[in-house]
């Protein structure tokens, strides 16, 4: 690869700084709270650090049993590093995802440098667009395995490209592609679709490099051995059973311009208030990018790889029952970002005057970061705090003052409360393992996974409220307004103790203590 000009190196460092800032700024407090899945990864990492077993007492699992399903393992294993450094905080649980987001920006830069060595500016555009893309910032700040899987997958694509010049890299590319299947579910299917098609497209080259091709394939198959061992248990397809249901419509929605550029939604799998997966203005460079691809202005081989990825990457998500679920198509969104970068660079190159070029870049960058700040760092923070269990983070602090009481937290509507409280209170993993192992209704790896575990964390018990317990002395019930409704409070003569509000000001949790002397006399 050519030596990079000093000016480009400085701009690259600036791009990486922006990527890091947008991912790590207030990472512990935005999103406000801690999602159950994130807490599960964090606590399993904490448990591994302390006992070499997960919270169910399974030594070094291949898949992590969690909340009625299984979590792919790599994210959890890597999370042991930030948990050991930063402790049991929301930031530690999200660290690997945020770091992956920065790496993706760098890999995109390297990707373009490898694909288009004569256009160093394009590589910078690519890195910068990933750094500020709403989808990348949004998912980098959540503890989602998909973001880590994307970095591994993107690295493998970069190496597959480079291996056309240096065939020995094919082995590392296959290793990374194989690893990506242990990082997220979409990659399991994507990898087995991509690899044979890649070999088919470049068959002329690989037929002359059979030795490397066979070695690479062997490496890929070896990385799949843990999956093979899971196939008969039912755990391998557990998640697919939960989300399956497909149709051509499910595939085409990923190409819908409103979904990609204009619609915003509130669900975890989607985006932030007022902003879609991409900024609205990006629709214009996308069209220019497609034009460049169709006109063959990018090299033929690069066009083939991008085209293949563009068609393949939405397939895993299309096989699920959900319509437009960005979390499952991060690979697709990355490919679109590459095309947008190509389009934006062609517009930039078309402008003849330097002032216009700089003006275009500065205006788009400032507008994008401003929109992102308003939508994510303000609106999302306040309006979506309830989706991320903000109130339970506050509750964990509040309950430090209730050590003399028996506390029962209702878990009827949120499966993640137990593990969230265990993570935030740094509860002894060995104790939790002794509690949870006997509560498994099936073997650790199974197609049927129960999620109704009761957590006993010292004086705190996390389980659905049973009103038979109101006649016990010194009990504090904690739950949302559905669990502790006015009717129940009146009927069981409960006494108000505290209220915890969401950032939006809405009541999220209530604490009421029993009065057996009133209720049960």
């Amino acid at each position: 690869m050519e030596k990079m000009a000093k000016r480009h190196l400085v701009i690259l460092l600036l791009v990486l700084f922006v990527a890091a800032f947008l991912r790590f700024y207030n990472l512990g407090s935005i999103p406000a709270g801690l999602h159950g899945d994130a807490a599960s990864q964090g606590y399993n990492a904490f448990s591994l650090l302390n006992s070499s077993k997960d919270r169910f007492g399974e030594p070094f699992p291949v898949l992590f049993r969690s909340l009625g399903s299984y979590q792919p393992p790599i994210y959890t294993y890597l999370t042991t590093i930030p948990v050991s450094i930063f402790g049991n905080t929301p930031m530690a649980a999200r660290f690997i995802s945020a770091f992956s987001g920065i790496l993706l920006s760098l890999i995109t830069f390297l990707f373009f440098r490898a694909f288009f060595p004569s256009k160093p500016g394009l590589a910078l555009f690519g890195g910068a667009l990933v750094a500020i893309a709403p989808w990348s910032v949004f998912f980098s700040r959540l503890a989602v395995e998909a973001n880590l899987a994307l970095v591994i997958f993107a690295s493998s694509i970069l190496l597959y490209w480079r291996s056309l010049k240096n065939p020995s890299l094919f082995i590392t590319a296959c290793l990374l592609l194989g690893l990506s299947t242990h990082a997220y579910y979409s990659e399991r299917l994507l990898a087995v679709l991509f690899l044979p098609l890649y070999l088919l497209i470049f068959r002329k080259f690989w037929l002359h490099q059979k030795r490397w091709a066979i070695l690479g394939l062997v490496i890929f198959i070896l990385t799949q051995v843990p999956h093979f061992s899971m196939v008969t248990s039912g755990a391998y397809i557990r998640r697919f059973d939960q989300v399956s249901g497909s149709g051509m419509d499910n595939y085409l929605v990923y190409y819908s311009l409103p979904n990609l550029f204009f619609d915003s939604d509130s669900n975890l799998g989607r985006t932030m208030p007022g902003l879609s997966v991409f900024y609205g203005w990006m629709v214009v460079p996308l069209i220019f990018g497609i034009r460049e691809l169709v006109l063959g202005k990018v090299t033929k081989e690069a066009g083939k790889i991008l085209g293949l990825l563009l068609i393949l990457t939405p397939i895993p998500a299309a096989l699920t029952g959900d319509l437009f679920y960005p979390l499952r198509v991060l690979d697709f969104l990355w490919v679109l970002t590459l095309i947008i970068a190509i389009g934006l660079y062609s517009i930039y190159a078309y402008l003849k005057v330097n002032t216009a070029k700089i003006g275009l870049v500065v205006i788009l960058a400032l507008y994008s970061i401003f929109s992102l700040y308003i939508s994510y760092f303000i609106l999302f923070k306040y309006e979506k705090a309830e989706n991320y269990g903000y109130a339970y983070v506050k509750l964990a602090e509040k309950l430090k003052g209730y050590k003399d009481k028996e506390v029962i937290i209702d878990s009827a509507r949120d499966l993640g409360i137990g593990v969230r409280m265990a993570y935030l209170t740094r509860f002894d993993p060995r104790n939790i393992q002794e509690q949870l192992r006997p509560q498994m209704k099936t073997s650790y790896y199974n197609s049927s996974v129960n999620s109704d575990e009761v957590y006993i964390l010292g004086n705190i018990t996390v389980k659905p409220i049973r009103w038979g317990e109101v006649c016990r002395e010194n009990v504090l019930f904690v739950g949302d307004q559905a669990a502790l409704s006015d009717k129940e409070i009146k009927e069981h003569k409960l006494k108000f103790e505290f209220e915890i509000k969401d950032l939006s000001g809405k009541t999220a949790l209530l604490g009421y203590k029993t009065q057996p002397e009133e209720k049960c006399k």
Partner: protein, 215 residues
Amino acid sequence: MKRKFLIILGVSLGNFWVYQLFANNILMGLLLTSESILLFLTALPERSKKIQVAVFIILTGLSLYLLAISFNKEIFYISDYEKIVQKNRGEYFGAELGKIYGNKAGIFYFDKFRPVVSKISGNFASNLDFEKYFLSKNPEEGRYPVFLLPLFILGLVRLIIVYQKTSVIYFLLALIVSSLVSISGKMGPMLLFPFFNLCIALGALNIWRKWQKDI
């Protein structure tokens, strides 16, 4: 030329949308069908300046009519629910942005300008939803049969490649006007009808030429 004319005529009349437009207003149906043919003619190598002028005269007339009967008043109307959301958001902006929000320009931008832009961009996006045109599950809302979708994509790609100025300007103007009208009404995105017909016809023409070459 005769064959090309037959293709655009077939496309313009061989869909569900044109009959919905005719049922709603015969004159509009006629004008939009004519506009489809004229727009198609401007995309051919043998186009003339007069036809281009005619396309934009008809577009202006249709736009004025559409804005007069279907202007989306909700763009400037704030519902009770929106007022509550806006009030809450005002508090969040106030807490996070301080004086940047708490001055005349800030309040105007966040409370007045942003919601209006958001509604217009919502309409804009809705007009770009190709699913609505080709994959509608409700037969009454269906505009084109789904098998025309590949032809449409082919034609669109062709337009992107050759960059036919008149068609692009027509599309952008039609999109802007359509963003200001009520999308739920039957006339909704009617200005885009000629553009869709153009893309489908170009796609069909492309396939016809390829087929003729092969034989």
